[in-house]
Symmetry: C2
Subunit: 110 residues, 2 copies
């Protein structure tokens, strides 16, 4: 096989997995960090910032977009990419929740 049985899991589990998976590559982490570092979202130079060929970067951007992590608008000759606050917030909330629940555990373990 190889395909994951998404229908056996909850909507929330699938959504979180899709978002986390999209972040699960160093190039895509780098893209996210770069988008954060620039003031506006008009960033026609993502390709020059990454140590990867242009088609590869384009593919990573596509995956981030498909997952909903970034949004992309055509801005004349260039493309304007920026982070999707809602998606990031979902991940933020999830990990904040996990984090707080771990530390509030009464019984210590492992």
């Amino acid at each position: 096989m190889g395909a994951s049985k998404t229908d056996h899991f909850t909507e929330e589990q699938n959504t979180l997995a899709i978002l986390a998976k999209a972040v699960g590559h160093p190039a895509r982490v780098a893209i996210i960090q770069y988008l954060l570092s620039v003031e506006t979202c008009i960033c026609g130079d993502i390709v020059n910032v990454l140590p990867l060929a242009q088609p590869t970067v384009s593919q990573h951007l596509k995956e981030l977009k498909n997952a909903g992590i970034i949004k992309g608008n055509i801005e004349g000759n260039a493309i304007c990419y920026c982070l999707n606050e809602e998606a990031v917030e979902l991940l933020h909330q999830f990990f904040a929740n996990v984090s707080s629940k771990i530390s509030s555990k009464t019984k210590s373990c492992c």
Copy 2:
């Protein structure tokens, strides 16, 4: 190819990517949620909770462990798995940071 060029990225980018990737599957999100839901970390019944065969669950646990998301101790006949607070905290911090930086952007875009 297929292998990612981890050496071209920063340590932080690689670490975050490894952690996020481990969370990037609904079964592993479910495992994390289940580990959170039980009081102690002695959980010999993860297999019964997931809609997957035992070897598959074992494999997912191994991946979570390899990435550092969970820790596992042998507890007699069963295995005691629990979340690794430090790893979760790293992800939490990252998304908290991304989230806060997005909302503080002066120029709106997209």
